[in-house]
């Protein structure tokens, strides 16, 4: 039975062999045929030589999560061949270079063997050794176009686009593709049971990764300054910001740049610069990952106490620095939420899609200036570095930036008695003044907590406690300001909560569970502080699963602590292996729970 637009294909390559561009061309070709795709790059912390995998999931149902097995394996790395063959689903296809014989022990009877003499095919056609290496990838791409029924015009069109201006490269690339394609037609059983066909589903979508989306959100959100220190997987946020700013933010008349990027000496300096700029009235951000967050702790506390806007993107990965830096996790929640010494708390946003990375990035600057405190957008490697089918970015031209409570010179002339930290509006947020505003009014000395409402130095206990109480009031203002959770409820007895990239496999998980007779209400958390709707959702269900990608149930800790809840109803589903969480994992954990607790699996509706 032919399966259209519904398969997982994995490419096993050697890092640095030039496979990346061929593989992403494959994904893009499917997407251009209107097929929703999710890509996954599983790469080592290495520039050349170690194994790397690239995975594409084609899915008409919008099941973008990782699957534990694959339908088609393009095994181009001898070193990982054995495990690559192993992860094929029964009935799957094994594509490999059969120029040299394989070890017999690695054969599997339940998969279709698709050997292509790639090296041999290339040898007489290209003389340059570098081209011979690179075009191996292009040859299998051509073969796959025949095997999976990919419109060849789409592929050749993409080659022409990619090498526009370097025309000499177009013909050899297309030729290499034809070599593979012709071989497949001539010698192989075309097409596979898995096939691609034109669809309308992705017609109005875009294929983009979360980091580039966040960078564009920062540009639309009015960020003028990015200070950063390179770290995977966050680097591409800063790089994409600079790339797009070079196009979108250069003054046509003067050629000046309406943005600045500094690659700082370390993450401490990066955040220090962002804070200096925020203090001085510019919208500034930094992008980092867990190790950078660790270094930024002292400054995060200072910004909390001194009440200075700052935007951070934490693209989470597996810790620590010498750990698995190129694997994904959601394990920085606690370290970000309470970063620094003293009583500190920082708001976080949890995007789940590239579109939401864009939206939350732009929103974060409004929020930070409104609340005069750091805001951290919590993405992760899975979302940040992999291209995913997403809704398009949207922007309303009437939208104005919310610059928060900042007094101008005219405002100051009207004010009798200015105090930086006076809670005039009872929302815990005072009025800022920017340096240089007024000749005689509104200046103050910024420091941590040893000051009164007028920013005058004091170590008086009451002044300290009152300030901390005001910051608590501000926390409630923040709670009301941040995006609420997305709730879908049919009054089932059980519910499931998730956030960030644990949302990706959720639709598939729910469909699979439904087959087992388990139906769940859903809640996707989008921000910390936790909204009261989470309290309600938990109260309405006798059991609530909370899915996270960390060992310590960090979101559970946050919920229980922030809402002062009893945790009895919350059952954690925790995955922390470093790959992205799969529907298979979630389903088996839920089923386990039902079995162990002898809960009937019926689609019961609570009365």
């Amino acid at each position: 039975m032919t399966k259209y637009n519904d398969f997982v294909i994995r490419f096993a390559n050697v890092n640095g062999s030039g496979s990346a561009s061929a593989n992403s061309m494959f994904a893009k070709a499917l997407f251009r045929m209107g097929v929703p795709v999710a890509t996954r790059n599983i790469f080592p912390s290495n520039i050349q030589g170690l194994p790397t995998w690239f995975e594409v999931r084609a899915t008409e149902k919008g099941y973008f999560g990782r699957r534990e097995d694959v339908d088609i394996m393009v095994a181009m790395n001898a070193e990982t061949y054995e495990e690559d063959v192993e992860c094929l689903a029964s009935g799957g296809y094994l594509v490999y270079d059969n120029t040299r014989p394989r070890p017999r022990t690695l054969e599997r009877q339940d998969v279709v063997d698709v050997g292509i003499p790639i090296t041999k095919l290339i040898l007489p056609e290209f003389s340059d050794p570098k081209q011979r290496q690179l075009f191996k990838n292009i040859v299998y791409l051509g073969a796959l176009s025949a095997l999976l029924n990919i419109d060849f015009k789409v592929l050749t069109g993409m080659v022409s686009m990619q090498y526009k201006g370097k025309d000499a490269l177009i013909q050899p690339n297309i030729h290499a593709m034809e070599i593979g394609r012709n071989y497949a037609f001539k010698y192989l059983d075309c097409p596979f049971e898995f096939q691609v066909r034109y669809s309308e589903l992705a017609k109005d979508k875009i294929l983009v990764d979360g980091n580039e989306s966040a960078a564009l959100g920062a540009i639309y959100g009015g960020a003028t300054f990015c200070a950063w220190y390179p770290i995977t997987p966050s680097t591409s946020v800063a790089e994409a910001f600079e790339k797009h700013a070079q196009k979108l933010r250069v003054d046509e008349d003067t050629g000046t740049k309406k943005y600045a990027v500094i690659q700082s000496e370390d993450e401490l300096a990066a955040l220090g610069m962002v804070i200096g700029a925020g203090w001085n009235g510019a919208r500034a951000f930094t992008a980092t990952s867990g190790p950078g967050i660790s270094l930024m702790n002292e400054f995060l506390g200072l910004a909390y106490f001194a009440e200075i806007p700052a935007v951070l993107f934490d693209i989470q990965r597996v810790g620590p620095s010498t750990g698995m830096p190129t694997r994904t996790q959601q394990s920085d929640l606690l370290s970000v939420a309470f970063a620094s010494h003293g009583d500190t708390r920082h708001p976080m946003l949890f995007p789940s899609t590239p579109k939401e990375c864009f939206d939350f990035a732009a929103d974060a600057f409004d929020i930070a200036e409104r609340i005069q405190s750091p805001v951290v957008v919590m993405s992760d490697l899975e979302l940040g570095m992999n291209e995913l089918t997403s809704d398009q970015f949207e922007w309303e031209d009437i939208r104005k930036y919310d610059r928060g409570k900042v007094l101008t010179a005219d405002d100051l002339d009207q004010v009798e008695d200015y105090g930086r930290y006076v809670d005039v509006d009872s929302d815990g947020i005072g009025y800022r003044t920017l340096p240089g505003t007024h000749p005689s009014k509104g200046s103050f000395f910024t420091r941590g907590t040893s000051r009164d409402e007028y920013a005058v130095y004091t170590e008086a206990p009451d002044a300290y406690s009152q300030n901390m109480d005001r910051l608590n009031r501000k926390w409630e203002t923040i709670r009301a300001l941040l995006p609420r959770s997305e709730v879908s409820s049919a009054s089932y007895r059980a519910g499931i909560m998730y956030y960030g990239t644990t949302a990706t496999p959720m639709s598939e998980s729910l469909a699979l569970l439904d087959d087992y007779g388990i139906e769940l209400d859903t809640l996707r958390i989008r921000a910390f502080p936790i909204g009261h709707e989470v309290r309600e959702f938990i109260a309405q269900h006798s059991i609530v699963f909370l899915v996270e990608q960390n060992r310590d149930a960090q979101m559970k800790t946050l919920i229980v602590n922030d809402l002062e809840l009893n945790a009895d109803q919350i059952c954690s589903i925790l995955y922390y292996g470093g790959m992205s969480i799969s529907a298979d994992f979630i389903v088996s954990e839920v089923l386990n729970y039902y079995e162990q607790n002898k809960v009937p699996r019926l689609k019961e509706v609570s009365s």
């Binding site: 009015g222 000496e265 500034a284 400054f299 910024t446």
Partner: protein
Amino acid sequence: MTFVKKPEIHHPLLTVNELGLKRRDYEGLVSTLCAGCGHDSVSAAIIQACSELSLPPHRFAKLSGIGCSSKTPSYFLSNSHGFNSVHGRMPSVATGANIANRDLIYIGVSGDGDSASIGLGQFAHAVRRKINMLYIVDNNGTYGLTKGQFSATNDYGSTSKRGVPNLYSPIDLVCMALQIGASFVARSFSGDKKQLVPLIKAALLHNGFSFIDIISPCVMFNNHDGSTKSYGHVRDHSAPIVDADFVAPHEEIEVDYAPGSTETIDMPDGSRLRLRKLEDSYNPKNRVDALAYVQRALDEGDVVTGLLYVEEDPADLHEVLETPEVPLSALTESDLCPGSETLDSINASFR
């Protein structure tokens, strides 16, 4: 022609400057440092320099790290914003502030612990980035605020108050600043107001990174006989090499006094800087010579003071970044947001 200065009629504290402001308009809160602390003299020199230059007090931004020295921005220019940040990290905060608004005048005050120990990296990188600011280190060779531990600027063999010798090599921030490329490098002494005030003026008008290492004795913990940062030691070993005289735009240049030759540098606002070289062979416009001279003197135990190096045409970070004349902080939606139509083509590029 010889210019004879008219005698001052008013007490200098009561004279008004070109902005109609008095000296006290440049003052800050009453200092809480120890009586006799060198840092207070530095603050006084800053106050005098700023008021004599007739700079608008509210157009300054004062930044510091942590330490007795870092407290001092409270004690001058109370009409300007100040930022007491975290230990050793003032340079990054100043960098960000400067990038956000290039129109303000930036003064960073730090200590030898703040800049030569915990903040050495940030200091070096601020120098490299050519931040247009005056960076002052109140160098007392000790951690004043944490009660007298050694700092990284202590000379080898100099002793703590209790007589314990320092067994590690000193870091000399002047040499570092020269080597990394600061465009204005000076060393002075908090007790030598005559030398210090013109240096601060020149540094404030210099359009680049100006660094002044000011030996500023800590009377509480490092003013004893074994110290090389005591009032006595610095007075005895100070070797002025280039004095800087500041000449306001419409003022005429006074006649020269021996020894040494002079050189004039025109400043952006029309004023001039007269460099009086106390040793003929010294060339304050040559980085390599300056570095060699200072390093040699250090090895001989002399503290060379004065304006040690100056670039006449300095670069500033904003030139490198190619930012507009308007501060980044003043840009609005219409400057910054590419709008929905552009977003349509961005969306199209992801198809």
